[in-house]
Structure formats: C-alpha cells, structure tokens
C-alpha cells in the first residue's frame, strides 16, 4: 500500500522512447500516451544531423503533453576513434549521450569516458552484450549507467527471449556488485509496446531486479543523469565544482 502511494508521487522517466521521427503524428501519439501512462519526462533519441530542429519540434509536443523533454543522441560507432570524434562534436549539444556498443573495443572506450552517460547493448544478439566485470569496473569509475530496454522482452519469443533474460540476469548481478546505476527504459517504437512505469518495474522480476531497485532505475537513476548534465550544460558551469554565481557590475573587479 505504502509502496503504491510512493510510486504515484515518483518522477518516472522513460529515457528511451523511439517513435519514428518522420511521422509527426506517431511521435505525438506516443508522447501523449507516455504522459497518460504516468511518465513525467521522456528522452527521445535524435539523429546526429539536424538534431537541433527536431529537438525544438519534439520539445513543443512534450510541452503540450505536460512532459519534460530530454534530448538524447544514440551513438553507434564502429570503432573507438569514431566514438571519440563524435563525443567531441556532440557532448555539449545534447543532454544525454548513449553509446550502443557493438564491439568490445567500443564498449571499453565508452565505459572509461566520462562524457558517456549510458551504455547500451544489442538486445537481439546476446553475444554482442559486452557488459562483464571489467566493463562494470570501468563504468563505475566514470558513473556511466547500464540501460535495459524492455520492449525486446515483449516482442521476442522462445529461445531468443530466454537467452536475453538469462544475459540480463547476469548483467544486473554484475552491475549491482560494482555499483553501476541501472536504467530501465521502454525502448518502444510503437504504441502497443508502451507500458506503465509500474508494469515495467514488475518485468524486473524476470532478471532478478527487486521492485525497489526497478523503481529507482525508472526514476532516481535517470533523474540523477539529467540533473548532472543540465548543470554542466548551463552557461554558469565552468569546470567540475566551479560555477558562476553572479555576473554584472556589482561583481568585484578582482
């Protein structure tokens, strides 16, 4: 009873809503549905090219739906050099940078780079999920989070779903052991794959995530990343621990 009352007050965030951005109607429907289901903020991955214009459009839709919009770019580099180049170009332009690690070298580089917020792995090919103890150790030092998309658990069946659940169980165990924050997001690309925050957290049972940790993965953990990055993107940020607190004529000349 207490838990469900707490859940109603929580700030739930779906950091990975994947509508087809070509269709504005579909994007609108999915964002409105997210608001209806009880989310307070959504993250939509933007394409690298023309991300500014799209961010404005989606932000407007989110405002109308009463949601906070979080700009996000999903990088899928083929090697570590490409990853570093993209990070240099994009880090100061969006709130969240996620790296889909398709090779071990990219996964390791992403885990040890402070500019990366989220590590995500292929849901379809479990052999390409490189989240092991070494990866977790690197990620815990840089505060990168492990993202788990729930949509594949809904649309995959049989052997593929069994292997994915088994791999997720292993990853959750490793993440907990090394204090790597876990983020649960929908990963939904169609309306019928959207679920309430409480329903997504109940899916955590399948891979050994207890209800409290699952709720944290849908609220506190993503919120911490957003707050940290919004501070860094503000014009008052200078360097870690240094902020401009006053400007103008009343400041001493020094």
């Amino acid at each position: 009873m207490q838990r469900s009352r707490d859940a109603a007050l929580k700030f739930f965030i779906d950091l990975h809503l994947c509508p087809s951005l070509e269709s504005q109607k579909e994007t609108e429907l999915m964002i409105r549905k997210s608001a209806e289901l009880g989310y307070k903020a959504v993250g939509v991955p933007l394409p690298i090219k023309n991300h500014k214009d799209l961010a404005k459009k989606i932000s407007k839709i989110c405002d109308e739906a009463g949601l906070d919009f979080i700009s996000r770019i999903d990088l899928e580099p083929s090697n570590a050099t490409e990853l570093l180049r993209n990070l240099r170009l994009l880090r100061r332009k969006v709130e969240i940078i996620s790296v889909k690690c398709m090779s071990k070298s990219v996964a390791r580089q992403a885990a040890k780079d402070r500019r990366v917020d989220i590590l995500s792995f292929s849901p379809l090919d479990v052999r390409k999920r490189f989240f092991d103890s070494a990866e977790a150790e690197l990620a815990s030092e840089t505060n990168a989070s492990l993202e788990i998309d729930m949509a594949p658990l809904l649309y995959l069946q049989g052997h593929r779903r069994i292997r994915l659940i088994s791999k997720l169980r292993e990853e959750v165990y490793i993440a907990k052991k090394h204090d790597v924050p876990i983020i649960i997001s929908s990963g939904a690309c169609e309306l019928k794959l959207l679920r309430k925050p409480g329903d997504l957290s109940s899916l955590g049972y399948l891979f050994g995530l207890d209800p409290n940790d699952a709720e944290k993965a849908l609220s506190e953990n993503p919120k911490a990343i957003i707050e940290r990055n919004r501070k860094k993107l503000s014009p008052n940020y200078v360097a870690p621990g240094i902020y401009v607190i006053r400007r103008g004529k009343d400041c001493p000349d020094g």
Partner: protein, 111 residues
Amino acid sequence: MPRRLRRRYVAVKVESNGEVKKEDLFYAIWNNVLRLFGEYGASQTDLRLIEYSPEDNLAVIRCSHKSLPMVKASITCVTRIGRESAALHIQLVSGTLKSLKRKLSERIKKE
C-alpha cells in the same frame, strides 16, 4: 497447512484494436505465464479471470499472493489477444475483491 490461501485481485485495463473476448483475454495471460514460468510456475499461480467488462475494457484477475510478481510480469508481456495486437495495463492490486472495487470507484471519481 495455512489456514486459508492468501489471494490478490488485479484490475487490468485492456487496450486492443479489435473486440476482445473473455476467453481470449484469459488465454493470452495464461499463455504468457506458461511461456515465462513453465507448467510448474503456472501451477502456483491459481489464476482466474473473475470479471471482464468489454464496455469499460476492464478485467479483474485473481491469483495467489505468492505468485503476484509472476502474474504481473506475465500480464505486462501480453502483446496480442486473439489475432489482434493488444496491451494490458495493471491499474490496481488489492487483497479482496471488495476493496479492489472500492479503490477503483474512488479512482474513477477522482478522474
């Protein structure tokens, strides 16, 4: 032996493009319990569909207290009812049918 079985009643909102029959809804959930937890797991759930109102798209499902996490995960995993794609959203969980109905009516009044 326990004095009596502790149960949980779950109110579920049904979203589907087509018309949903009571039997199809139950088998959609039951099949997901079977797929995810096998026959041994399904035997522990004591799953029943108590009520289904097609007008309100609301169903009430009963399960054993211990199997609630399994049933909740299975309900969430439903993506198809009959031949139509569908989604189920858990609205409320309660210990008795009476309190579930009371909470549901309170929620409807609030909205």
